[in-house]
């Protein structure tokens, strides 16, 4: 990745009346990467996309494209193009005319338009469909038209608003792979907005997690999963079980954490989120957390386990490659653990409600602030 960002967003805010859609967001997007904006609905990710495309003006802050100020440019003057959530394919124009429209607006010569349109349709495997009208195409094909329509313009930046949300599950998986391949082939920087963490994880080189208008973390998918900056991010990018703590104190290389439910646990220093500091050591500010795939389930009390909790066996859900086992903890809460199918079958034989032990190692745990203020990359 180059050090020179293609897009630089500095202290960007967008207020709608009293509502802060974006609150002091700063991030860089590098040339040639797939960058995902991830967050629950209303987190500001779409507002950010609309600021990049020029349909919204920021309240304050800067947006630079190739080190040039982007904000004063109108949407039709930006070297940025967007694939809309509804695809917004023009229904009265043929597929060819749809794809050619952007080039016509640029004033490209007719002969060149023809070859470039053919090339773009080839890229999205729609070469045979040029003469068709959009209503003669399936939803997936319409999306390809929308893609070809922007690829043909060879933009500096390509924005995709929830590109896979309208497709059925099977097509979505295929399209995920195809988007990545397409991006590699054309080398254009993609910015994808999505609320689906699995989609972001699968496609993106880097992900920015937003919540309530604030940037929570920018990181690669694996880093985001393994080193979340706070409890919100950890929970948003995958299932995680959080436990309130009473206190946390440094003890040599490790961190000693006291929790009502878990007792005293020693966490190695790399289990402590780097956003964690002494200000977070009070009980109200932080949690210790464990992901389901790190929880082991046993019928007998384990001899050596940093944490072991006695519970009763709940439901077992068969997932295909693995099973998910629910462990009911004394009326207070339940845990889920990912187990192999054979282990799940053995547990199933014991019967629902039978006592089981959930145990895990302290080094698999994370000590996280509930809410890390500011952005950490």
């Amino acid at each position: 990745m180059s050090d020179n960002p293609i897009v630089s967003i500095r202290n960007l805010s967008k207020h709608f009346g009293r509502f802060k859609a974006l609150d002091d967001v700063s991030l860089d997007i590098h040339a040639g990467e797939i960058f995902a904006l991830l967050g629950p609905s209303g987190c500001g990710k779409s507002t950010l996309l609309r600021i990049l495309s020029g349909f919204e003006t920021p309240t304050s802050g800067d947006v630079l494209l190739d080190n040039k100020d982007l904000v004063p440019l109108k949407p039709n003057k930006r070297p940025i193009n967007m694939v809309f959530q509804s695809y917004a394919v023009f229904p009265h124009m043929s597929v060819e005319d749809n794809v050619a429209y952007g080039l016509k607006m640029e004033g490209v010569a007719k002969a060149e338009i023809k070859t470039r349109v053919e090339e773009a349709l080839e890229q999205v495997h729609l070469a045979q469909f040029g003469k068709r009208k959009p209503h003669q195409l399936s939803g997936g094909q319409r999306q390809r038209v929308a893609l070809a329509r922007v690829l043909v313009k060879k933009p500096r930046l390509l924005l995709l608003d929830e590109p896979l949300s309208a497709l059925d599950a099977k097509l979505r998986d295929a399209m995920r792979l195809e988007l990545v391949k397409l991006q590699e082939a054309v080398g254009i920087t993609f910015v994808i907005v999505t609320h689906d963490q699995a989609e972001a994880m699968a496609i993106a080189d880097r992900i920015a997690v937003l919540n309530e208008g604030r940037l929570r973390q920018v990181a690669s998918p694996s880093q985001l999963y393994q080193k979340p900056v706070d409890a919100f991010v950890a929970d948003f990018v995958g299932t995680i079980h959080c436990f309130d703590i009473d206190s946390a104190a440094q003890e040599g290389d490790a961190m000693r954490v006291n929790s009502a439910l878990l007792g005293t646990v020693k966490l190695p220093s790399d289990a402590v989120a780097h956003s964690f500091d002494s200000a977070h050591s009070s009980s109200a500010e932080s949690v210790v957390a464990i992901r389901p795939e790190h929880i082991h389930v046993a019928a007998q009390q384990p001899l050596t386990a940093d944490v072991a909790l006695l519970g009763s066996l709940g439901d077992i859900a068969f997932q295909g490659q693995h099973s998910i086992v629910e462990i009911m903890l004394d009326g207070r809460a339940s845990l889920t653990a990912v187990t192999t199918n054979s282990d799940a079958q053995a547990l199933h034989a014991a019967g629902t409600g039978s006592p089981v032990w959930a145990h895990w190692s302290g080094s698999d745990m994370l000590l996280l602030p509930k809410d890390a203020k500011g952005a950490f990359s």
């Binding site: 495309s53 349909f55 949407p75 039709n76 023009f90 952007g102 607006m105």
Partner: protein, 282 residues
């Protein structure tokens, strides 16, 4: 042994009930028989149009109608007024519809109400108010004005009651416009005007056709408002037919009416064809 059921009527198969069939038939007769009689008796070889005794087939009353200079002048006036009023109504209606659809401004509900007011106001009141307005302005179809400017006050009167209908139809069409399409075109490099020309207008086309058709037929057969705003030299077909009826009812009137009916039917047919063709795209 399999059971046999009598062929019972299913729900909504109303057309199979003889009682409902006869009601339908009677209603249709009631609506269309007078028109058919009118057309048939335009070919009646009788001196009186009101005469319902068939005296043989003739087309002489069509000849007479086409050679009646006053009648033809009125016919020409009617068409001129209708065409001008239609074009103006569609343009004004489109502008009004886009204004009400796209923008927010103070007193918008009031403006919306005012726009649709001519639809609900009794036509006779509109006729009187327009007549008073034009006479106060001294603008009463001057004989000295050259054609078609002598028709200007009737045209203005027709536009006032036609364009709200056009605006309503076009606005309904606008509701189904996906705003992302507009943004997509902007995003691809189109200016505001290009978006309007390339994206919005093609989407509006069925609405424009429907609005135009509505305006044209409303203007074509308007009597009350025209009666109040026309001068002695600016007579339209409905007004002319009315004055002819007051003298004597001849089959010539039947012939003139038949021509008017035919004209509207042909226009409606073409307009509907354009519309159904366009709808298949969407």
């Amino acid at each position: 042994m399999p059971k046999h059921y009598r062929n019972k009527k299913k729900p909504f198969e109303y057309s199979k009930k003889w009682s409902l069939r006869s009601v339908f038939l009677l209603a249709t007769l009631f609506l269309y028989v007078p028109i058919i009689v009118l057309i048939v008796f335009s070919f009646n070889n009788s001196r009186r149009g009101g005469n319902v005794i068939w005296k043989g087939f003739t087309t002489k009353y069509y000849d007479k109608a086409f050679n009646n200079e006053d009648l033809m002048l009125a016919f020409g006036n009617t068409l001129t007024i209708a065409i001008v009023a239609t074009i103006a109504s569609v343009i004004l209606g489109t502008c009004t519809a886009i204004l009400l659809w796209r923008f927010r401004f103070p007193f918008k509900p009031l403006v919306e109400g005012l726009v649709s007011l001519p639809i609900v106001i009794p036509e006779i009141c509109m006729g009187v108010s327009l007549a008073l307005f034009f006479s106060a302005m001294g603008w009463l179809g001057n004989t000295s004005d050259i054609w078609p400017f002598n028709l200007s006050n009737i045209m203005i009167a027709h536009i006032t009651f036609c364009f709200p209908f056009a605006a309503m139809v076009i606005r309904t069409r606008l509701q189904s416009f996906n705003r992302e399409m507009e943004e997509a075109a902007r995003d691809l490099g189109a200016t505001e005007f290009q978006v309007f020309k390339d994206i919005l207008l093609p989407h509006l086309k069925p609405g424009l056709v429907a609005g135009a058709l509505l305006s044209f037929t409303l203007s074509l057969d308007d009597f009350i408002v025209t009666f109040f705003t026309s001068g002695p030299n600016t007579v339209t077909l409905p007004v002319k037919i009315y004055s002819m009826v007051r003298f004597s009812v001849t089959p010539e009137i039947n012939a003139a009416s038949t021509i008017l009916i035919l004209l509207t039917l042909v226009l409606t047919f073409f307009a509907l064809r354009i519309q159904t063709k366009d709808d298949s795209i969407l």
